[in-house]
């Protein structure tokens, strides 16, 4: 492939690093892309950090369905806003080309196991370290039709938009300057950190590694969304079951 030198308009070949006629260095497109991606990753993470701080104070102020809807809406707008920077590559991730039976079977079985392990494991760890327990469903028990709000705000919306944000936008940007394995690792760390909980980090980090692996191997967001949905729904239903048992007793 051939191109022209921006300085003297001489014909260049792709492998040229310098123009043979005027000696000007050909701007390395990769270096420009890398710098932009690093800036986008930092901007993305800081934006989510600020969002999380805002959400924290907003929740402190009022904890109603309206609060939840406003916070979720801001999260969705923020995610879609960042995705606009890389829309073509992100839209391409909504495909099923590489998905095989093995991938589907794994995506159905793994989250069921992870939901059980996380629910009982974290419950035990919380009890051991903090002598307290906290669950997903707790925030919704005072709402009318609490289980449906729980399903919407825990099982449906986070898998769609967290996958889009972390395995979509963030993953795409990181892999522009890092190898696939490092990208999976870094996405999992940042995904764990943004949940602001040391205990949660212990399971979100390995969970993020699995989601990143699926994203890398199958080049799609569908499997990650499926795993995330089944996992969150599983934990929510177990909690709901124990909550009902508690009410009956």
């Amino acid at each position: 492939m051939e191109k022209l030198c921006a300085n003297c308009k001489k014909l260049l070949v792709t492998s040229d690093i310098f123009c043979g006629n005027c000696g000007k260095k050909i701007a390395s497109e990769k270096a420009i892309v890398e710098t932009r991606s690093v800036q986008l990753v930092i901007a993305f993470y800081i934006a989510y950090l600020v969002f999380a701080i805002g959400a924290y104070f907003f929740y402190e102020d009022s904890n109603t369905v309206r609060t939840e809807i406003i916070i979720e809406s801001v999260f969705i707008v923020l995610t879609l806003g960042f995705c606009l920077f890389d829309r073509k590559a992100i839209i391409a991730l909504y495909n099923t080309r590489k998905i095989d039976l093995k991938g589907i079977a794994f995506s159905l079985i793994f989250p069921i196991i992870s939901a059980v392990v996380v629910y009982f494991g974290i419950e035990a760890l919380n009890g051991l370290l903090f002598e307290d327990s906290y669950g997903y469903f707790e925030s919704y028990i005072y709402y009318k039709d609490s289980i449906w709000y729980g399903i919407l705000f825990i099982a449906i919306l986070p898998p769609i938009f967290e996958e889009l944000a972390f395995r979509g936008f963030l993953f795409n940007q990181l892999q522009k300057f890092a190898s696939p394995n490092i990208t999976i690792f870094a996405t999992a760390i940042l995904f764990g950190l943004i949940h602001f909980s040391f205990i949660s980090f212990l399971w979100i980090f390995p969970f993020g590694l699995v989601l990143g692996y699926l994203r890398q191997k199958y080049n799609t967001l569908w499997l990650g969304m499926g795993v995330h949905f089944i996992h969150n729904l599983g934990v929510l239903l177990i909690e709901y079951y124990y909550f009902k048992q508690y009410l009956l007793s």
């Binding site: 260049l12 070949v13 492998s15 040229d16 690093i17 310098f18 123009c19 043979g20 006629n21 005027c22 000696g23 260095k25 390395s28 990769k30 270096a31 890398e34 710098t35 690093v38 990753v41 930092i42 993470y45 800081i46 950090l49 999380a52 701080i53 924290y56 370290l129 903090f130 300057f177 890092a178 490092i182 870094a186 760390i189 940042l190 950190l193 943004i194 602001f196 040391f198």
Partner: protein, 168 residues
């Protein structure tokens, strides 16, 4: 009388193959068929690049040292909490955090860009998490925190600079 000039087939600076009509080497930019002034400029730019590389390496080292400092301070904070309030949870959390910072410091020898990027974001998250739990912690040691963030950001910038220079 027509003068026949024999053009060199290889660059005398980097030994890459030169195309017949080129004045500059397309691999290293050396003005093989250029003037004396162009050659001097090339060598001056080369020296400047080496200096920039050395400076970037120096800042990467400073960033690495700041990671060791954060690791030590985090662990110290955990120990103080443990001995003052018997807070095991904080000790475990700060211990793990210190190990992560130390691991990132060693990793920055191989992958400085990613190591500093992750370290900066972890440090910021930790600051925010602590501030949400107790807002007064945000101002405690603010100058030291500022210095650490400066060195970590400089580490990211220097790692990017070094990648650019190495590609050149």
């Amino acid at each position: 009388m027509e003068e026949i000039v024999q053009k060199p087939s290889n660059c005398s600076n980097c030994k890459s193959k030169m195309r017949a009509d080129n004045i500059f080497c397309t691999t290293c930019g050396f003005p093989e068929m250029g003037t004396e002034h162009q050659r001097s400029s090339f060598h001056a730019a080369h020296v400047l690049n080496i200096r920039r590389s050395n400076e970037a390496i120096k800042y990467i080292k400073s960033g690495r040292n700041s990671l060791f400092v954060i690791a030590a301070l985090s662990f110290l904070f955990g120990l103080i909490n443990f001995f003052s309030f018997q807070d095991t949870a904080i000790l475990v959390a700060t211990g793990i955090l210190s190990i992560i910072y130390i691991a990132l410091a060693f990793w920055s020898q191989k992958k400085p860009l990613m190591a500093f990027l992750l370290a900066t974001l972890i440090f910021l998250t930790n600051m925010v998490t602590n501030a949400l739990a107790d807002s007064s912690t945000f101002y405690k040691g603010i100058i030291l925190k500022g210095v650490i963030i400066f060195y970590l950001c400089k580490g990211i910038y220097s790692a990017l600079e070094l990648r650019k220079l190495q590609k050149a």
